[in-house]
Symmetry: C2
Subunit: 577 residues, 2 copies
């Protein structure tokens, strides 16, 4: 098509309200239009990109025998009540009533709908395994949408659901799906995406992985080990602490620590090691405001997701009242009598000579030995892993932490949904069994934005050829000159006839404006028709990323363009395993 007819506007100015570059470029480049908080319309270039991504996903899903279906966006609340999620999910589930007062929800994921679709079909073991997927609009009423298409409220998602008669069968399929995911991310141009072990959160289930595109603009923290390749998100990374070099047990002594409220202040005041101190972090349960005191090593932080998973309910930072019996700033394991849940983090395990609060204003203990002074306690893992910490896989102190965008996830669900929703099958022996499920998601718009975040320069996106809105961008620089215009028109027609996806800029605009627009559209192959070359019957074929530039005769331009397209595709395909 001609660029002059392309619906959407491109701007020179960077929008002021964008916190990450891909968001700014998608707005500046005429890709997306803000409609409401976390809700966007897509202009033609972004629609073309997402359609290509969808088709790549579709091909890879079909290749692992996943069958495309379509679930509704609007679902009856009763269906979510069957699984228990109608009440267990928070405000991000949008609930409303239809004209007849029937409770409805907007689907944010479709486990319930998937079970409902196949509950009768899957009544015999002979039907298993099978899997289904859809690519459809979802709505998640996020409290804080941000970063353009990265975190929105309405989004297009591929969600797949598999059904199995054994854990082994699920694991086999899970591995096949993981490979399909690797192929998808490689094919859309981000083969560097890593699979990390993750917390299953609201979806449920035991084993799950997130696919992370590592980038500073990401909102997730990812734990990586350079040594063994271990990776996990912060919530899923086991924290291992080495307390082998700590001092031997001493005498329990109450010391006056006036005004020392933080553990750092105390350790500085007493000239003791933070690594041999015990701090208290106090929360309250959301449900009943009951206090939860977490004791952990002074230099560690609580991971609230781990804590929530342990407790089975959400917590918030405590407001400590006089009635609570807790002494803010001086809370410690010894002499603790307040009515609250007490949790000991594994980071304290093995330290025999702790400094800790004395549960009395301006007093701490030194020489605290939990086993001796408090008794046997259970140590659990609720601490955040640290940079330079011990890798839970290889045991070396090689942990580093990167930022990443989650571009996909896969979950082993177990029987959470099949059991609660009464899905059963009869096995070979006539026994009634509950099928085991997996689920597998990729956000299409977020993936497009993530590729933009990873593949760009200061001037715009550099779209991989596999998902670029067009393959070729013809810039006819001086369309007022007959020799330029005739070459441009000819090449445009030749390329259209050859089935190349081409956008043709034959506007009477300045060279600067033309190239700025071309940069914003990020089309990987560019054919530049300049007045000097045109006189010689030549054009330039360059790539958006400036790696290739090639002056060719007009007669050869079509073939050379095709070759360049083929080269870029083969670069992508080399990364696909």
């Amino acid at each position: 098509m001609k660029l002059a007819n392309l619906v959407g506007e491109r701007f020179k100015e960077r929008p002021s309200d964008c916190v990450i570059e891909s968001h700014a470029l998608c707005v500046k480049g005429g890709y997306i239009k803000y409609v409401a908080n976390g809700i966007y319309s897509l202009y033609p270039p972004m629609k073309r990109i997402t359609t290509k991504i969808e088709n790549i996903i579709r091909e890879e899903m079909d290749a692992v025998d996943c069958q495309e279906v379509m679930f509704p966006v609007v679902l009856p609340g009763a269906l979510w009540e069957e699984s228990g999620r109608f009440t267990s999910v928070g405000e991000e589930l949008l609930r409303f009533e239809d004209r007849n007062g029937t409770s409805m929800v907007l689907g944010m994921t479709h486990e319930e709908a998937a079970v409902q679709l196949v509950r009768e079909y899957g009544q015999s073991y002979a039907k298993y395994p099978f899997s289904i997927y859809q690519i459809q609009t979802k709505f998640r009423d996020e409290a804080r949408p941000r970063a353009g298409l990265i975190r929105v409220r309405e989004f297009t998602m591929k969600d797949a659901y598999s059904f199995h008669t054994s854990q082994e069968d699920l694991e086999q399929y899970y591995d096949r799906m993981a490979k399909a995911y690797d192929r998808i991310f490689a094919r859309v141009g981000i083969p560097e995406t890593v699979a990390v072990k993750s917390d299953s959160g609201m979806i449920g289930g035991s084993v799950s992985h997130e696919y992370m595109l590592l980038t500073d603009a990401g909102e997730d923290s990812i734990v990586l080990c350079d040594e063994c390749g271990y990776s996990a998100n912060m919530e899923a990374a086991d924290t291992t602490v080495d307390n082998s070099g700590c001092a031997p047990a001493g005498e329990l002594t109450k010391v006056h620590t006036p005004g020392c409220k933080t553990i750092e202040e105390v350790c500085t005041f007493l000239n003791s090691k933070v690594e041999e101190s015990c701090k208290a972090v106090i929360y309250q349960k959301n449900m009943n405001d009951e206090y939860v005191v977490v004791f952990l090593r002074g230099d560690y932080e609580v991971n609230e997701t781990k804590l929530t998973n342990l407790l089975g309910e959400k917590v918030h930072p405590a407001v400590i009242t006089e009635e609570s019996g807790l002494v803010a700033g001086f809370c410690g394991p010894y002499g603790q009598h307040a009515n609250c849940t007490i949790i000991y983090d594994k980071s304290l395990c093995g330290i025999e000579n702790l400094c800790a609060g004395a549960n009395e204003v301006d007093y701490h203990y030194t020489g605290l030995n939990i086993k001796r002074d408090v008794g046997e306690v259970e140590y659990v893992d609720v601490a955040k892993i640290q940079i330079g910490g011990i890798c839970p896989c290889c045991g070396k102190k090689t942990i580093h932490i990167s930022r990443g965008i989650e571009v996909g996830n896969i979950f082993q669900l177990g029987t959470k949904y099949s059991k609660s929703m009464g899905m059963t099958y009869t096995d070979e022996n006539g026994e009634v069994q509950t099928p085991i499920m997996g689920c597998y998601g990729i956000g299409v718009g977020r993936l497009a934005a993530s590729v933009c975040e990873a593949k760009r320069d200061d001037y715009g996106p550099i779209w991989p050829i596999s998902i670029a809105p067009w393959q070729v961008h013809i810039c006819c620089m001086r369309v007022d000159k007959e020799e330029c215009k005739s070459i441009g028109d000819r090449l445009y027609k030749e390329m259209l006839d050859a089935g190349i996806e081409v956008i043709y800029d034959d506007r009477k605009v300045s060279v600067g404006a033309m190239l700025a627009d071309a940069d914003l559209l990020g089309v990987p192959v560019r054919v530049v028709i300049g007045p000097k070359n045109a006189v010689n019957g030549e054009v330039e074929i360059v790539t958006r990323d400036k790696r290739f530039t090639n002056k060719v005769s007009v007669d050869d331009a079509l073939e050379e363009t095709k070759k360049m397209i083929a080269t870029l595709f083969s670069e992508i395909n080399e990364k696909v395993k």
Copy 2:
């Protein structure tokens, strides 16, 4: 794929709750699954059909320079307030609040979103004309969903919006779009679809057409003239009445008509012609319960849509109270004094000697001459056209009425949305102008169901090859016999390798069950491997509609199948103009 793995169930029994055949077949055949009232999930065969329909629509939209975009499903209520539809549309617009209490709606059509998307882009005349479309989920909270995918609450729709600087330009594009619609309906296999002039309803605008597939299962009534080809829906068909042969004016006389409440009873009692009587139909306005009395010829009925359009507000049948001053059953033009809106239908125009109610229990007038006895009144058209009535186009008494399903519509919107939403452009002379819009819809699921309704037999759908879930269905009848299985496996592989969309039934089921399933899946080309033919190295190639049947050697089967596919495609393409 193998039929044994196809997700979804097929039944022998006709579901009892289906009022039309396509609905029953879609349930029986494993195409759709009921989720909630008017809300369905799609199984793989229906998803394959709708994807093919979407691709045909997409190609034809692209061919008329319509650019694909994507609007949100969830829209801010504020956007609908701009156009005024937030309040003007009834309960079918689903309104709710998000977690922050912001008013939101589920998009049922996207005129507002379209204007919002291009309001800045379209500020200069140089950008015009342009048009955009999306294929996306919509929700319309229908009071009475029915007939499977024909009338649902959630549906996938292609909706296009065009923007113009003159009425002429809109009309030109409207004609192009009308031709694209003809091509779409021909390509999906229902070239018999007719375009009828229609009432614009909630969407607004002046000129509009509905595309109707004529079938007894349709819920719309369509007015057709055999003579001149005129077509319109009931609401849009002008009613023309010939009163030239009526009796001359007589004397106004009050007559006693005891117990005669209907106009038929009165005319029988008085032995006068119904065609020279005036009846009253009484409504009340929904807003304020004000009475509306419609006088029309005794043998005509009121078309409530025409009446609503005339009044600019909705009405309901009246509850006549004593205080109203209206005399139920005896209401007439002469002596009418009650405080109400009075409407005279054109069907009364030209009758000089009417029988009508006397506004007094058990009394009528004869010899009523409205002009003489009541005065000059305005006659308007609020009556339903009748079978055998006068064609408003050619003037002959050739009208007949058919049932039809609306499979698409096109509207000339005028400036209804651009004006209310403040969309303007600067013209060649620097003047600020308001663009003129058109909009164009096709419901994808309804179209699939409509094709099923039109193309079927007692055993299942007969899908046109262009939208069939698969092109070829291999039925291997005795898979326990090696000669059958080897032929089946070979042909399945050959066809997959040749890129043919093939479903392979190699289940150990009875011939009857296998053929019943094949009929329900409605795949147009069937390759039947029977044990007798297999011994001779032969298979049968038959079409689902039984028009073609061909015994060929296994070696020739692939080529013959390809030829059959090509023949069926060429039959479709012959109907595409």
